[in-house]
Amino acid sequence: MDLLPEELKKDFPLLRRTVRGGRPLVYLDSGATSQKPLRVLDAERGFYERHNAAPHRGAHLLAEEATEAYEQARASIARFIGADPGEIVFTKNATEGINLVAYAMSNAATAGPESERFKIGPGDEVVVSEMEHHANLVPWQELCRRTGATLRWFGLTDEGRLDLDDLDDLVNERTKIVALTHQSNVLGTVPPIKRIAARAREVGALLLLDGAQSVPHQPVDVTDLDADFLVFSGHKMLGPTGIGVLWGRRELLEAMPPFITGGSMIEVVHMEASTFMPPPQRFEAGVPMTAQAVGLGAACDYLAEIGMDRVHAHEEALIAYSLERLTEIPGVRVIGPGTTEARGGAVAFTVEDIHPHDVGQVLDELGVEVRVGHHCAWPICRRFGIPATTRATFYLYNTLADVDALADGVRQAQKFFGTA
């Protein structure tokens, strides 16, 4: 199997700690947030200790250095996804990136003719899916509420794949935007983006991908993706909290009205009205998350040096092993694809007659940290008629032994609650 060396774990100070009475930590919740390597922590702290100033605002040496650090981070991140730095907009998280596009679309109503493409109103449609994280569902519900547009969605097959039978009906001439997860944070499913993108192109709809779970875990190249927008969060890919990215095609960003407004995104300000800078500045009002951008840049460099194909292969091996170890336990049911094909590293499951909260409690007691609940994707639970699931998510620092600890823990929960 193509596993990464175990020494990698040493780069992550937190993973050395113990929990619940001295047990070694088995961290299987990277889908919620990842741990940070020393390199990222040092980059952030180094910025504060040597170059801290407000970027793009001053002419003094520190401001110059801060601007340089901030823009070099943008360049690292751009390189990581094959984009142009001018197409990288910093947000506080993936959630803000999605809201940015959704609000820009309603703001287009009172913007100039260059924003025509983004205008949306009654009769127009927005398409999402039943497997979206709330971050890629609620903003579109709200956009529809604000503008009178209609929300529609792809259903799911029993295996947890997108049901594309309705593709041509769902994505049609009335569709303004299709907003889809690029990898489900619960099912692990990776939808067939190319097919959907082709249909979106055909009808002139925009395509936004929620890459919160894809960009950290698989090689993503925007030139190959055929999407218009891609959002992701730094904290899920070894970067600091408080930083995310919206990538958009240059010509779209150029035509898009601003979302959050304020300092350093303006061109000229009069009391009566203001004009705005070109992207990406137009979308970065206020003093930005400078140190966090620097940290995320370092995270991208770190991941790029290891190689995202190797990260992906490593996780694939872990998923395959965990599907094997979990499904051999009587009473365990994996929700989502049963093989590693077009599937990323979230393994959600139910354990017969034990509520996920109780499964999670036993695992936690053993030092195995998983997430329990609806994982911010409630409609998936409704679709599969279950109240919640237990979810393990993997990253480059996890090992086969971590999977064993998970499977053993599930069996102990069954023993404890007397269901096996």
């Binding site: 909260h357 109780d358 409690q361 007691e365």
Partner: protein, 152 residues
């Protein structure tokens, strides 16, 4: 393992054989509560005899979906407050809330007041589970306020 401290026998018993479960008529107040972080839900009805805070809790019935802690808590609660006056029941609720918020610190819970509910002391050490233990209690407070016409 600390698990036994949380999952006391009393709790597991109530979980496996919940008391007063199922929605019943008559009732004057109903409330539906969810725990947004995990999706656990409870629908709870209150039937009062008499009026005002002196009214007696004639019945508490509920339908619930959730973990052992939230299920057991609904069962223990119903059994504890049925037959009490609203005022007394509220006092029990306050005592239970105090226990839950103690974070396992040096609170001396009143066993005479809490009876079986004292078994939840271990839960108070797990912040994420406190909400599970409180779900039914919150729903009961809400349903009672409705029954008393104190809220819309």
């Amino acid at each position: 393992m600390q698990l036994e401290a949380m999952y006391q026998e009393v709790i597991l018993d109530h979980y496996r054989n919940p008391l007063h479960k199922g929605l019943r008529e008559p009732y004057e107040g109903e409330a539906h509560h969810v725990n947004p972080t995990c999706g656990d839900e409870v629908t709870l009805r209150v039937h009062l005899a008499g009026s005002g805070r002196d009214a007696r809790v004639a019945d508490v019935s509920y339908d619930a979906m959730g973990c052992s802690i939230s299920q057991a808590s609904a069962s223990v609660m119903s059994d504890l407050i049925i037959g009490k006056s609203v005022q007394e029941a509220m006092a029990v609720g306050d005592e239970f809330l105090a226990l839950m918020q103690s974070r396992g610190r040096d609170v001396q819970p009143d066993e005479d007041v809490l009876e079986d509910a004292i078994a939840f002391a271990g839960v108070s050490k797990y912040p994420a589970r406190i909400k599970c233990a409180l779900l039914a209690w919150m729903a009961w407070k809400d349903a009672t306020a409705r029954a008393l016409g104190e809220t819309s």
